[in-house]
Symmetry: D2
Subunit: 343 residues, 4 copies
């Protein structure tokens, strides 16, 4: 019998896995998770990998195998694994009756071709792509609650989609006008593997753009805002800080609006959604207020014409941008309050 | 007799003044500068104010007065003073025969109203506004060479104007399309005075937008690109680093271009201009490569349609964005190589 | 009737107050705290002061007065107030039957003269000094449990005393040899008020020593290690980071020891103390593993002679060094598990 | 004929090589240097390796071979190569008549055994070890001026030796008392190769000790202060900043001294030495004042007994701690002012 209070966590060696472990170890509705890793480098427990867990997260590390997971009582699995690993692992676990929250890009698109084009990898079988639910609870909570497979979104994509969706759904953006998404992320978003361009000396005191017109989170943004590829410019930059994404989004409105109307649109759209916080007109969110949280904070500025609108959307790339949102999704799957273990 | 190899430097207590002192103390064509300050806080020489000058910049600090400067042999003055101080001081020095490079906003606009509207201060007398030359040598070097009064541009404005001018001058931007200038600056651009929001703990690990639709550098950008106010959105952000501005500029071209054509446009426009460096197509500049220099580095990315263009322009806000450019301007006024003391 | 599950928190405008609010708002054994401030600057609730509390810490701010607190049902108060404010406030609250955890220096010494000498302020009345219990639970938990007034220790002092006490209590330090405590702290330890030397540009990329032979935490260290003033050199340095203190402590042992014996001494001394973590021989703790926690991590290195020992002790200056330890003390006063709300 | 104004620079791919290139390209007494690299990764000129050189340091990169260097006209070579490469390369170049400044550890010790013990590598032939001059110009300028082979010191060692030497040479340290050298360095000192522990996320906001009782710079410190191994504890820490070393050094004086006497001792010792700056009593140097310079700044604090003295010595690990000092040494070898190209 599958036990949904018993979760397997696969891939806890990176920054997302670390954050996932931190949240799940303190989750009041769950049993201590089972942690699986592909390579242990000799570490036998989580605290050996991440010394911050000493004294409270001495959970054993288990060598990853499909059999090991499916023969456990685990009723669900979080996959913090590379795209190609998730693409193989998720179907095997699903067939064995587990529910899966996958944090890779493997199941984020309905069309296999989208994945293949942007990721240069073979896509999972189409049946899984159509079954997977895109995991932004503020947009798709009822589907997520019933899902067997949730595709946890990209960090940049989450911040942009949450920032744009009230406007696109209301049809406020002037047809034919471009939408510019200028996004900035901290260095933990690039992963934990040593790389020359992530050396402290190369990032500290530095700032740069990268991935122009080629970032993999682009198709997620298009699919969940309904905007066309020719309408959106999405750029990414590397900030000299560890955690956080701030997206500055520029749109032109079809009809002039007041600041009060804009604020009201966002408040209505996210009414009852505790993990999205709307900032009052004339104030703007900052990364420091969302770091180490699962919040997405959204503010805006409107010019005097009432038609040029700048949206500022920010979140913690490891929180609401990855591990936090994965747990928020799972809380919906469990039918418990979505912010459980996330404050 | 005025001696143009003897310069007065007014206001050396801030970060721009410090950088100006550093450059001018090592300037091979100049005598040791005369440093004037409004308040010494007891410091008698530059090294007491800035210990980094010990052993090589023990220059005395003199109390500021118009008489003290005009009765010296100084042939020119750099004013690193607040707008309202410059507005009074510059005319007095000009009347006494000195040439002036002013680093404040006081003389940057032809129309007094522009200054008054954006700075909420009384403008200098109109005769000086029309006489002042806007100090971007890559655009106005012959006027600068002859100028009695140079208005040194704003740091953000320099990065945006240098990034956009080749396009606007060539008429490449599609009429009626918006131009987004998403700019990010280090904390030294906000000045040296203690402020709650510049406390280390408030800036480190943080990132935020500010000054949307209200930044004072806006009118400079409009005036020197020829773009209309309704066409440009200019935003500013605070980076957790000390020095540097990076502007990401989004434009739509009227006709499709190739990357080679874009690169060529920029190379031709800045041919012979050593302080602007054009990056090859498919590479982008980074702040670390311009920090502590007088360079403005410009790169770009073009989408596959050939019409959506992103320009990345970066510089050191204290170098090419302030003190460095002031000295570059002065080198033109002296008729010597513009990069003297700037490498 | 005083209700010990209802606490008053005085002074929540600084970094320590912010951390205290964060911990107490999530404390499962407490009712929502009553927050008092001396000046509100117009803020009506905690979230207006610290936007990170939006959506979960909208607690009202109350103007501070002794009457307001004593006429509430609060059974205990945390004072995150300046020394001179605490010196007046604590006695008034104690007389009204509240128990008090004071985070200032006012009640840390038995002798009024010590306070007056190091703080240049009038000391509280002697009766309170003798009644106050010094709040390091790892050393004085039974006294703390019964205390009416707990003097929460200085951040540097906590890290040094926890690092040295096993050695001094065991009599292992060679008589007549000096003890060097080289301590480094992040900038949040210097408080939130704007200061020129705490401007981002002055701290980022910088490092310096300060307070040599004059730091106010010196007498706490002497009193709780039993070492003489002539035996200890205690230095402090400012790190370019927000949170954390790391103390490197150099001692000479009277008798040669093995690394296993040193580790064993520390493990036995802190047996059952969950908030102090001893690192295995040949490994050393790092600030990143204690930031945002209430842990004090201690490691060491021993030279081949077995007599020269270096202790590394680190903690979060706002956690175990201030607000976290205050709550840990209060948990002892409540008779509940000391780590409640601290993980 | 060897041309001493023509230098070869070997190994310009790391941070020290970059700094060396920067200084030598602007050196007024030298011809453009010849740059040799072991692996070019396809880069044909310095600016391709380090984009900051674009437009002013387009010097070609040459594949390294002994023949290539010895058949050039170069009269001297700087070796910024690993110990084992320098150990082979230097003798070959010396035999061909070049003078050599080696920045590795290969030639820093008179005894081959010292090198072998601490570096776990075969030492160069003894004849070269005895010929090599240890390159601290403030101590050994006349030997350096005549030297064929200069062993440029370690960065930590330079800061500690310059801080201690006035005291040890004057015999002021109380016999039998320990000397504690608590040293902190920025991350560029650890080299440019990607390493997990140098990832931005692992260094930013973090601080830690490392290399206790085992750091390779230990024997340099002992040899050039004359202190015994049992007398000195030397510890190293990693700061979250790019450039700079600050050493806090604790000594006990044999006789009580006044602050004026201590200051006077240091001023007399370094009289005429422009690259060492002594700070007045009661003031302490900071890393920000030496970053990007060739200065070593030294300050101190003395306790009221006049016998416990804390020395603070700081420098830029790439400047006075490596490339800057290498050029300072070479200036002595050329017989020109030692600070040439270093201000």
């Amino acid at each position: 019998m599958r036990n949904f209070r018993q979760v397997a966590v696969v891939g806890v060696t990176g920054y997302t896995g670390l954050e996932l472990a931190r949240i799940l170890l303190g989750h009041p509705a769950l049993q201590p998770p089972l942690f699986y890793v592909r390579e242990t480098n000799g570490a036998k427990c989580l605290a050996e990998l991440f010394p911050q867990f000493r004294g409270w997260g001495e959970a054993p590390l288990r060598p990853l195998s499909v059999d090991a997971i499916t023969s456990s009582s685990a009723g669900a699995a979080f996959l913090a694994t590379p795209h190609e690993v998730s693409a193989e692992l998720a179907p095997a676990l699903l067939k064995a009756g587990l529910r899966v929250v996958d944090l890779s890009g493997a199941f984020r698109f309905r069309e296999a071709e989208t994945f293949t084009t942007w990721y240069k990898l073979a896509a999972p079988h189409a049946e899984w792509l159509t079954e997977a639910v895109y995991g932004i609870p503020e947009l798709y909570s009822s589907e997520i609650a019933k899902a067997r497979l949730v595709a946890n979104p990209g960090c940049y994509a989450t911040s942009v989609i949450l920032g744009l969706r009230p406007l696109t759904q209301a049809g406020w953006i002037a047809p034919g006008t471009g939408v510019v998404c200028d996004c900035k992320s901290g260095a933990s978003g690039a992963g934990k593997d040593p790389r020359r361009d992530l050396h402290f000396v190369e990032v500290d005191g530095n700032f740069k753009a990268y991935g122009l017109f080629s970032h993999r989170h682009t198709p997620e943004i298009l699919e969940h805002t309904g905007l066309g590829e020719s309408q959106v410019v999405f750029s990414t930059h590397l900030l000299p800080l560890a955690r956080g994404i701030l997206s500055t989004i520029y749109v032109t409105l079809g009809e002039p609006q007041t600041a009060a109307e804009v604020e009201s649109l966002y408040r209505r759209f996210y009414a009852g959604r505790r993990m999205v916080r709307i900032w009052p007109a004339d104030t703007l969110p900052e990364l420091q207020h969302v770091a180490h949280t699962n919040f997405c904070d959204i503010g805006f500025a409107l010019d005097k014409s009432g038609r040029r609108l700048v949206i500022v959307s920010c979140l913690d790339n490891l929180g609401k941008g990855a591990a936090g949102q994965a747990v928020q999704n799972f809380n919906h799957m469990l039918g418990i309050e979505e912010q459980t273990s996330l404050q």
